[in-house]
């Protein structure tokens, strides 16, 4: 590729999501990308279809945002449920999108971050614009939800459909979605100070929700803790399952070695206190938690529950993987990392170096290259 620092023209870029500021990974990603692209001189506009259910604090944004259902409608910021009214309302809102798109300069890009939002975008006039649809979860996870059919239906005509990994893309292509390609998520931050890996602590960060598999983490810990009585498992996060999980913890006799840390706003701080990071999820997309731990030089042990996981962790080189659900195996992986400081140091250091392939510079470069490619 050419070494020129700004090889791409400045573009009008629309990021269209279900909501501008819904609490969760997709919105965080959208605004991270919006900032990065704005810094590169692009004119970014973030569009949400409806107001969020749970809002996220965004602070001052250096780019405009628009919510289509802004509360002035009869249904109070929601599209009507069914039938002709819904159709009419969708068309009306799509017309607003069309107006936004028409005002854009040539070479403009529409990035649809969630398939639900695509239902409005496909009703709008996108002539002359490049439309990119995205799915921010693994193929297998989509497959279990109604999104699977909807992705196949609504993204079929998009100029490109992006998933998180090559492996996921191949699976979608296998379903006939021939416009699929992939784009990894950028690393949210690189802490200046890596973890010293001195505390005898294994850390997990994630919502206390079925998907994160904390129940399996406790089963795992029950197998490994007796061999390492001086170690603690710190579980960060809160959620609906907390009570059930604490009951399970007590039943397994782990109260002495498990610390329930609650939700944290200081992820880098939590990771600085970790020597090993563990992830026991049932499903993931391109898990930021692993990337953050690796950026902090903390070696990870994780269930290989999605292509994104083995894309991020190189098994045996900068972390260790176990077959999903196999708690015995995950326990052995943890045991390896907990027993041997040299292995921890080697993998932790490798992790911090290897994760640089997802720096924001690298990912933004790939996006701009894609914009150019789709124009050819």
């Amino acid at each position: 590729m050419t070494p020129c620092p700004y090889p791409y023209p400045e573009r009008d870029i629309f990021l269209v999501a279900n909501s501008v500021n819904e609490l969760g990974g997709v919105a965080s990603w959208s605004h991270q990308m919006a900032r990065l692209l704005t810094e590169r001189g692009h004119r970014v506009h973030v569009v949400g279809i409806t107001p969020p259910e749970i809002a996220m604090e965004l602070g001052d944004l250096p780019y405009p945002t628009t919510t289509l259902y802004d509360g002035h409608e009869a249904h109070g910021g929601r599209p009507p449920r069914l039938g002709r009214a819904r159709h009419a309302s969708m068309r009306a809102k799509a017309a607003r999108l069309t107006a936004l798109f028409r005002a854009a300069r040539p070479g403009a890009i529409v990035i649809v971050t969630q398939v639900w939002a695509m239902e409005w975008v496909e009703l709008a006039d996108t002539t002359g614009l490049t439309v990119i649809g995205m799915s921010h979860e693994s193929y297998e996870y989509s497959k279990k939800s109604s999104r699977f059919r909807r992705v196949l239906k609504h993204y079929e005509k998009a100029d490109r459909m992006l998933v998180l990994t090559r492996e996921d893309a191949d699976l979608w292509i296998g379903q006939g979605l021939n416009n699929t390609s992939f784009m990894p998520n950028p690393l949210p931050f690189i802490p200046a100070e890596p973890s010293p890996r001195t505390e005898k602590a294994v850390v997990s960060i994630g919502r206390l929700h079925d998907q994160k598999g904390i129940d399996m983490l406790l089963d795992t810990w029950a197998e490994v803790a007796p061999r390492h009585p001086d170690w603690t498992l710190r579980i960060y996060g809160s959620g609906e399952d907390e009570e059930a999980l604490r009951t399970q913890c007590t039943a397994l006799g782990l109260d002495d070695s498990v610390a329930w840390m609650g939700r944290t706003s200081d992820v880098p701080g939590a990771l600085r206190g970790a020597s090993v990071f563990v992830q026991s999820s049932r499903g993931e997309g391109f898990p930021l938690a692993l990337m953050e731990a690796m950026a902090s030089a903390v070696p990870c042990a994780a269930f290989d529950c999605a292509p994104g996981v083995h894309e991020i962790i190189r098994d045996g080189e900068d972390g260790l993987l176990a077959a999903p659900g196999n708690t015995g195996e995950l326990a052995r992986r943890l045991d390896t990392l907990m027993s041997d400081k040299q292995v921890r140091d080697r993998m932790g250091d490798a992790a911090r170096v290897n994760i640089q392939r997802y720096t924001t510079d690298e990912i933004v470069r790939r996006w701009e290259e894609l914009f150019g490619f789709l124009e050819r």
């Binding site: 100029d159 191949d170 292509i173 416009n179 399996m216 077959a323 999903p324 659900g325």
Partner: protein
Amino acid sequence: MNVDPRRSPGPEEPHEAPHTAAPAVSVVVIVYNDEARLPTAVRSVLDQTLRSVEVVIVDDRSTDGSYEVARRLAAEHPGRVRAHRLPENSGGCGAPRNHGIQRARGDHVMFLDSDDVLERNACRNMLEAAETTGADLVSGLCVRVHVDARSGKEVKWYPWLYTRTRTLDSISELPDLLVFDTLSTNKCYRRDFLLANALEFPVGIHYEDLLFSAQAYAAARRITLIPNRVYDWNVVDNPGGAGEADKAAAKSISNRRAEIANFTHRMEIHRRVDQLLADRGLAELKFHKDVKFLKHDLVLHLRDLPFRDAAYRQEFAAIARAYLESIDPAAYAEIEPIHAICAYLLRKGDWDNLLPAVDTLTNRDKISAPLVERDGRIYWCAEHLDNPDDGVLARRVLDVTELGYHTRPVGRMFLRNELTAYQGPSGGVGGSGGGGTVRLAGRITNPLGVVPPGARLTGELEFAARRKGVRFQVFRFPVATLRHEGETIAWEAAADLTRGLRPVGIVDAVWDVRLHLQVDGVRTTTRLTASEPGLVTGQLPVRPRLTRLVADRIEPQISSRGHLAFRLVPDKKANALVQRGIHGAPGRLAKSGYRRARAVRRTLASGDTKIRVYHEVFSRLPVKKRLVVFESHLGRQYSDSPRALYEEMRRQGLRFEAVWAYADSAEGFPEDAVLVRRWSMPYLKALARAEFWIDNQSYPLKLTKRPGTTYIQTWHGSALKRMGFDEPEWKLRSRGEQAAQQRTLDRFDRFLVRSEHDVRTLARAFRLKERTLLRVGYPRNDALVRARETPGRPPLAAELGIPEDRKVLLYAPTFRRREQRRFELPFDVERFADTFGDRYVLLVRSHYLNHVVLPPSVRGRVVDVSSHHDVTPLLALADGLITDYSSVMFDYALLDRPMFFFAYDYDEYVHEGRGTYFDLLERAPGPVVRTEDDLYAALGSLQQQSAKYSGARERFVADFGEYDKGHAAESVVDQFFAHWRRT
């Protein structure tokens, strides 16, 4: 310039703007006399999502308007479409494509035929792959689209090569690509790569794609495969509306010439590809290619042989033999036995054995050869085995022991029946005065003398209408003569079809013929194979029931599988009428009604409906006191603890109503119980009404148990491997799915355990409540406890023909999931027999999902006992047990006899699987060996092993079988059924 040099440029000829940048992709579209479809092909390129594409049309001097169409397209799309024409017709695809390569300006080149189309994203996906990996060649998925098929049938072209994106630095990383995907059209080539390597299609020969793609694969420094559909190969199934019927007819001379010419071309291309591979030092690829040639290319031609005359066969064989000489003999070991046999016999020119072999090639389960047993192995034929030059190869190729023919009873054999004579009525067609008799004669293969010389033989010919579903019209004729002639059974029959065969007319157009042979009362069914073309001819009068307007004659025909059938000959005029009816409104109505009726039947028979009936109808009936439903291993066996309980209940003379469920066959199930097929309506009704369920695995998960029913879950073995919620698969399930699973487990009212180990493992893994646990031991093991106290050999030994002086060893490995159903023994069974045959008889019991074949050489020394329902009597008989991780170890230990653990895949099984509850290496009550040699060493002395491990066995029984005291069945009966005793 894009202009035919021999024509002056007209005003419509586009001028290329000199500043136009080179397109990313040039698509070379070749056309010959295809003016109608050319615009569609070109449109598929112009509509690509990648805009930077150009079309280079090359016309192979068409005689229709193709070139004019091409020029018009060029005029309509200046700068994007160019039209070229060859100076004279080349007759192939090579010359026009070569011309296109020269004229292309794009960075990349693709090929498209005028009757096919590109997928919309094809060029963009190809380009993205090429630019990200730097590949010289990108290849994507081609799909054959059957354009005539009503339902738009599509078949992917070697899809297994295209399941994921992958990049190869050399074709030798994926030989299958060169071997199978020989198309040039589903690919995108870097133009510089084509030019630098001077890659061109051969001209003047068919199958040019094979050589071109082989050259390209071999030359490419990097190849990327993408799973994307890129190319639609449109297939016209019925060119000119030719019917199936002509396939059977011998081909005309000119057809034959064309076919032979094609085959010659194919062999020539193969030779050139082989030469290329040799030059490039890719000998290993040649081996893969050989394998594929034997498995696929050759088979296509072999299947046609029975329909060809002797002259064709000779010519074909001469060409094929010359090429077969170049095939690596090691390739024969890589293919299915029947493929190897055919290739070998063809090479030998042994037509007498080849034609029957081709019959098996076409009809896979048919036994076509007499077979011969030599030195304990089964061979396809007796010939060649002792050839001085290649007897060794012959024995390897013709060895069919593994196919297990010798283990099948005659009733389960599908024997070749060669039609040797066919004589229609001499009087010709027309006369209804009894002239409708055909005389048939043939011979049925008698493999391994399965039909003994003195056998009582009867036979009948059966004519049945070919149709799906019920055969409601069947006509039978006796076989007059049956003669045992050693390797064959000769037969003769006469059938008066005019009198005996009464088709309905219209509906049943084709009649299949079968010959049922009764051998001492056992029936085996054959089809009549006509091995020579032209054997069956002529027409016969028949009297259709419905109307003779449509047809009043039938004629014999040969199906594509080579079998004799008869077809009603439609009267042309009447047929037109009928066809109009079928395709017109009345026909549509009748057909849609028929389809709707079938759909209703399907719905009624579906699982969902059955489950609803169970819950909403049967479960509303009152619970029937004293009704007990038994099931073992999902109905596959009459065995295990449910059987032991059942027999105890019968022994005590309890008054109850017994129902046993079976999965496939009721054979071997008790006669004094009501037998119901699993999932049948009677089964569901019995379950809904039963007072007791007694089972060792699980009743259908979706059936709710009523509160009035007591479920006694006996379970089927203590656990070494992790089970239930300790298994990764179960853990991974979502909370909702886990809750649903738990509900099926909570149906257990009682759960039998045989030790506290079971409580810690199974009961915990199934999250069972303490009050459900029944600490009584396994009813099935009562017999083992008794056997330990009863010296002497059970009568089963005599039934199995085991001599008094031999000890009995039982080999019972656990189930292994494998691709094929056949389970390969992990040791050389012939070596075992040779080593220990004079001291031991080895009983082999594979898991009920696996299947094992023993060679005849070990007869009497190694015995397959897999089909025995119940393992317990076998355990009681065995003087020693060889197992790996099977739960029989926990049961057999009760006998206090020597045990051997042949754990050849211990690490894989224990670590890569779901894990174990304890370390077998630490606690096994016998030697754990990893290799065959170590196993044989350990088996040297049973006594020694028995003494060495007696302490370990005692501990093992204490740990895993503490409640197995020999009274489990009685104890269960006492607790639950005591009040059913007759007083």
